[in-house]
């Protein structure tokens, strides 16, 4: 019996792995909301409304996590006994930190939209590379402890991407 305590993958009835088909997640999300959304129970009293709300919230929570590669990877690591603990553990390899510093310098020095776009492209390429590595570690090597380091790298990259976008917003 499926319950509110089911994990995200069970709730969406998809394989417990990093690789996911976005179209399938979207379709399941809509199918589940079709059953559980409080609007379906608008005429059925407060109790049904409250329960529908709980389910609907739970489905949205799972969907937000499953569709986002970073959140999905962190969740999978935690499910498999290797929590990311980003706030307690910020140690990163020296090479990665060097690259971060270079990026930050070029972000500060860049004032044209065109070269910012180029930087954004470079960061996006690195993001895809890390995601690929994450997929290999979680789904092929089955090594969540190793994957945790890549999840943290991805967190750095996402935060940096936001800063690049914020500056792009200001320039355009």
């Amino acid at each position: 019996m499926i319950s509110l305590q089911a994990n995200d993958f069970e709730l969406f009835d998809v394989p417990v792995q990093y690789a996911q088909d976005r179209a399938q997640l979207d379709a399941r999300w809509k199918a589940l909301q079709r059953e559980a959304h409080p609007d379906r129970f608008a005429a059925e009293g407060a109790a049904a409304q409250r329960i529908a709300m709980q389910w609907s919230v739970r489905i949205n929570e799972a969907y937000q996590r499953l569709k986002d590669p970073l959140k999905r990877a962190a969740y999978l690591c935690e499910l498999q006994g290797a929590p990311v603990q980003a706030e307690n553990n910020t140690a990163m390899p020296a090479a990665f930190l060097m690259q971060q510093m270079e990026w930050r310098e070029s972000l500060e020095d860049t004032n044209s939209a065109q070269s910012l776009e180029a930087l954004a492209d470079e960061v996006a390429a690195e993001q895809r590379r890390v995601q690929q590595t994450l997929g290999d570690l979680l789904d092929v090597a089955k090594d969540p402890a190793q994957a945790v380091g890549q999840v943290r790298a991805l967190m750095f990259i996402e935060r940096f991407t936001q800063e690049v976008n914020a500056k792009l917003d200001r320039l355009t």
Binding site: M1, I2, S3, D13, Q24, A27, R28, K30, A31, L32, Q33, R34, E35, A36, H37, P38, D39, R40, A42, A43, E44, G45, A46, A47, A48, I51, A52, M53, W55, S56, V57, N60, E61, Y63, Q64, D169
Partner: protein, 621 residues
């Protein structure tokens, strides 16, 4: 009054019994009510055949008030007591109204930071004024159907924050309406277009009303309306175009001044008339008889466009931002739906066509389209359209967060998150032995608390004394399908808890609403009692109907004993509807049935989810 239909115990009511549900567009300049009749959504006209009700309320000496066209007529002669565009003041404090000096009203701050408008009948809150408009539409619908209303869907701008949504809901409650759902205006417009035209794809809804501008990016797939992003400006609309045109005209005759409240109203009306004429004419003369002299200025369409260029540019900037938020380019947009009377202005049509590289959709009446969509959704929520596949998945328009050290905002629910949603974040104490924590809930996109809207403050008390940083306080934000927020805080080690439904500082407490309801119905005590009893009967009837349909659908989930218990509760309630004369006692019976069926409802939900999963598996095989 219509008689309630009561069926014998155990006998199911007519399954085709229709519930009267309406959609209401509570607009800045005008409001409409619509309903689905014979499968078609249509706006309901008043006795004179007019569907539009100007959102204008005039308070007269004594008890009287004028609402709609009558009030508009009085605006010039009695501007101080004739309140127009009240929607702009909903959920707002005095400091939020930037252009106060240009308005003829006398504003006062009431308690809880909410503003009031001083009238001949005393201070009136925007909620009370809006309730007058809503009640007028409610009576119009009840007269049309000669029946009580089951409920209403009311539209709000997508950009409305929690305070504004709460104020709208308060107004509906004050007007005696059962709110089935608040939905975003652009979403309602898309419902009207989506169903009528059976379109699929990504659509932009460009809604320029009298006082608000909304842009929404929606995706329509197989009956699901998904809001990808929303943006806009809750203080930008046709009124601003009127004002800009009035300012431009006054600048041509610098000797004149709009000195009095009457002058301001006359000038604004003249500017509005000129604006409307310029939709078809290349040039018009703007006339206004002011106390300082007669204004008469020739205005060309080019002059008008020039004077309002900055306003139009603000619209397009908001469109760009909404597209970025949806992570889409303008080429991804399949169609642009135009909503709101202000989109009739040629410069708006042109600016939208230029930006998107395609002509916008405008084959439905831009004034009616929101009300029509709301009516379709209301019909569905009332259960009249069981085969309906329509599901609205909405997002929250503005980020919600909490104040942390140094006046910074920690975001808990980010903007454009699909609702309903619940999210939690852990906080801790910053002083040794700290036993209380003040929580300040804010809404907005900026990093500093002072730049965001303050929604509520509450305290978590009774935390056992611990070293700084040892307490673990989990703050949970829950946003329901209407976009309304409640916040809970719990210290994880001791289990101490506090929670608050965010009735923001601008909203009304339930007590205030109860008092206002009593004042509104200043009828005899007996009438009040009769009314309460009728409402309790409607609620009881609603609960019985819901339980019967639940039993018919999933009765097999119950054991014989459980079924007997529920049957007994239903029989008690059924009997009470017919004999009980005390509203409170009848409400208690309804509550008993609600509580008694709670476990059954939970079981049904689980089965629905199971069914959904099973359905998916079959599809994917």
């Amino acid at each position: 009054m219509a008689l309630l239909q009561i069926s014998e115990p155990g006998q199911s009511p007519d399954p085709h019994q229709r519930r009267i549900a309406v959609g209401i567009d509570l607009g800045t300049t005008h409001s409409l009510v619509a309903s689905v009749r014979n499968g078609v959504a249509e706006c309901l006209p008043d006795d004179d055949g007019r569907v539009i009700l100007p959102s204008v309320v005039r308070f007269m000496p004594g008890q009287g008030r004028q609402i709609g066209f009558d009030a508009v007529q009085s605006a010039a002669s009695d501007p101080v007591n004739t309140i127009a565009s009240v929607k702009r003041f909903m959920g707002r404090g005095l400091q939020d109204i930037a252009d106060r000096s240009k308005l003829p009203y006398e504003f006062t701050a009431s308690d809880q930071g909410m503003l009031s408008i001083q009238t001949v009948q005393g201070p009136k809150s925007p909620v009370e004024v809006s309730a007058e408009i809503l009640a007028t539409l409610r009576y119009r619908a009840e007269d049309t159907f000669n029946d009580d209303l089951y409920g209403a869907v009311i539209t709000v701008p997508a950009y409305f924050d929690d305070a504004q949504r709460q104020a709208t809901k308060d107004a509906a409650q004050l007007a005696g309406l059962n709110v089935l759902r608040l939905i975003n205006e652009p979403t309602a417009a898309a419902i009207a277009y989506g169903l009528d035209n059976a379109s699929e794809g990504v659509y932009a809804v460009f809604d320029l009303g009298g006082g608000t501008f909304d842009i929404s990016i929606l995706r329509l797939t197989q009956g699901v309306f998904e809001v990808l992003s929303t943006g806009g400006d809750s203080a930008l609309g046709g009124d601003d175009y009127d004002q800009a045109l009035a300012d431009a005209a006054m600048a041509r005759q610098p000797a004149l001044q709009a000195a009095t409240a009457e002058d301001k109203t006359v000038l604004k009306a003249a500017a509005r008339a000129a604006k409307e004429a310029l939709t078809n004419a290349d040039a018009v003369t703007l006339h206004a008889a002011l106390s300082t002299g007669s204004l008469s200025v020739q205005i060309s369409r080019a002059d008008f466009e020039q004077a309002t260029q900055a306003l139009t540019a603000r619209c397009i900037t908001a469109v760009r931002k909404a597209l970025r938020d949806a992570q889409l380019g303008k080429d991804d947009v399949q169609g642009v739906v135009m909503v709101g009377g202000s989109t009739r202005m040629p410069q708006i049509q042109q600016a939208v066509a230029d930006f998107f590289g395609q002509a916008p959709l405008n084959n439905l009446n831009p004034d009616e389209v929101v009300a029509l969509g709301a009516a379709i959704q209301a019909n569905q929520l009332a259960g009249n359209n069981a085969a309906g596949e329509l599901l609205l998945l909405d997002v929250i328009p503005l980020s919600l967060g909490i104040e942390t050290m140094g006046g910074l905002v920690e975001r808990i629910i980010p903007r454009n998150q699909t609702i309903p949603t619940a999210m939690a974040q852990d906080f801790t104490t910053y002083q040794d032995g700290q036993t209380a924590l003040a929580l300040h809930v804010v809404q907005g996109e900026r990093d500093l608390v002072q730049d965001c809207r303050s929604l509520a403050r509450f305290e978590l008390r009774g935390i056992p004394p611990m070293a700084a940083g040892a307490a673990r306080i989990r703050v949970t934000f829950t946003v329901d399908a209407d976009g309304l927020l409640s916040v809970g805080a719990k210290e994880q080690i001791s289990g101490v808890e506090a929670r608050i439904d965010v009735k923001p500082s601008y909203g009304l407490s339930d007590d205030q609403i109860a008092t206002m309801l009593q004042e509104t119905f200043t009828t005899a005590q007996a009438d009040m009692k009769a009314r309460a009893l009728v409402e309790a009967r409607v609620d009881a009837d609603r609960m019985l109907l819901a339980t019967r349909s639940a039993l018919a659908a999933d009765g097999q989930l119950l054991s014989d004993a459980e079924r007997a218990r529920i049957d007994a509760l239903m029989a008690t309630l059924q009997a009470a509807i017919q004999t009980e004369q005390d509203a409170k006692a009848l409400e208690d019976c309804t509550q008993a049935l609600a509580k008694g069926t709670e476990a059954f409802a939970a079981e049904r939900m689980n089965h629905s989810i199971q069914k959904a999963l099973a359905g998916q598996n079959i599809q994917s095989m």
